[in-house]
């Protein structure tokens, strides 16, 4: 298979029944999806991987419902977000620190041990929506509109979540608390 195919061509081929094309889409987007799920769930890499498998299986079964094949990553993150919410609802989040963000903070040069714990604590205290918006908009560089579409949240809510989440992180790192 030609590896230079775009998402649209791969989606078309996958819809026509090509599992190879679908697996190419998986290889292209799985790392980003696992990263998004891990940072949104705040759990282990294994949990994010398990959920990502479910996301791709759902996507395989509902490929016909994808409206814009060029935005397959956004669609996958949307499915992942809904599944992550279900999973978070089914288990009570007892952890006051976010494991995924603690690892990220540990790998960040220039942060003191205190900063690292403060970041993990601040992320652990954010709502699910705030964490997902921060991951998509501040980490992945998506626009507010793209995140709004993927997460099925109003645009104003996304902007507010990003601003508040950013302010919370800045405060944890010793900055101003104003959003």
């Amino acid at each position: 298979m030609n590896t230079g195919w775009g998402d649209e061509a791969l989606v078309a081929a996958a819809r026509a029944g090509s599992d190879a094309a679908f697996m190419r889409l998986v290889q292209r987007h799985e790392a980003a999806l696992r990263g998004f799920l891990r940072r949104s769930l705040g759990g282990s890499a294994a949990e994010a991987e398990d959920l990502a498998q479910e996301v791709f299986l759902t996507a395989w079964g509902h490929l016909g419902r994808l409206k814009d094949p060029a935005r397959v990553r956004s669609w996958l993150c949307g499915i992942g977000w809904r599944k992550a919410q279900d999973r978070l609802r089914s288990r009570r989040r007892d952890a006051t620190r976010d494991g995924a963000w603690l690892e990220i903070a540990d790998a960040t040069p220039g942060l003191s041990g205190e900063d690292r714990l403060a970041v993990a604590q601040a992320m652990g205290e954010l709502t699910q929506g705030q964490r997902a918006c921060i991951t998509l908009c501040l980490v992945e560089g998506w626009s507010h509109a793209e995140a709004s579409e993927a997460l099925d949240l109003p645009l104003g809510t996304v902007k507010s979540y990003v601003d508040r989440g950013r302010a919370r992180l800045l405060a944890a790192l010793g900055g101003s608390h104003d959003a």
């Binding site: 026509a16 029944g17 090509s18 599992d19 190879a20 679908f22 697996m23 998986v26 290889q27 799985e30 790392a31 980003a32 696992r34 990263g35 891990r38 940072r39 890499a45 991987e49 990502a52 498998q53 791709f56 299986l57 395989w60 079964g61 963000w101 990220i104 903070a105 790998a107 960040t108 040069p109 220039g110 942060l111 900063d115 970041v119 991951t135 501040l138 980490v139 992945e140 560089g141 950013r166 992180l169 800045l170 790192l173 010793g174 900055g175 101003s176």
Partner: protein, 102 residues
Amino acid sequence: MTPDQKLSALLTTAARPEPQGFAFSADLAQRIARRRAIYNILAMVPVMLAAAALLWTLDGLLKRQQALIDLISALAPGLLNLALVLFLTLGGRMLSKALDRR
């Protein structure tokens, strides 16, 4: 470092892509293949039921038509060969299509 710089460094680290999961892809491919096999079997159920009903009806009709049974008995060897040729041709085409898709 100012808090803004620390946050920038944190977000840059978080933006690093996760490593490619080859085991992940292999496991998923296996689950998709299993699911496709189940869907294919389920899709065949109505056809099998219709075929069973048709054969059951034909069986009832043929039992009452002795002349037709004699005719079919005479044609059976030739029809069997024809069915075998058709089966192999269609099977080969389907296999070739399936291989082309991969």
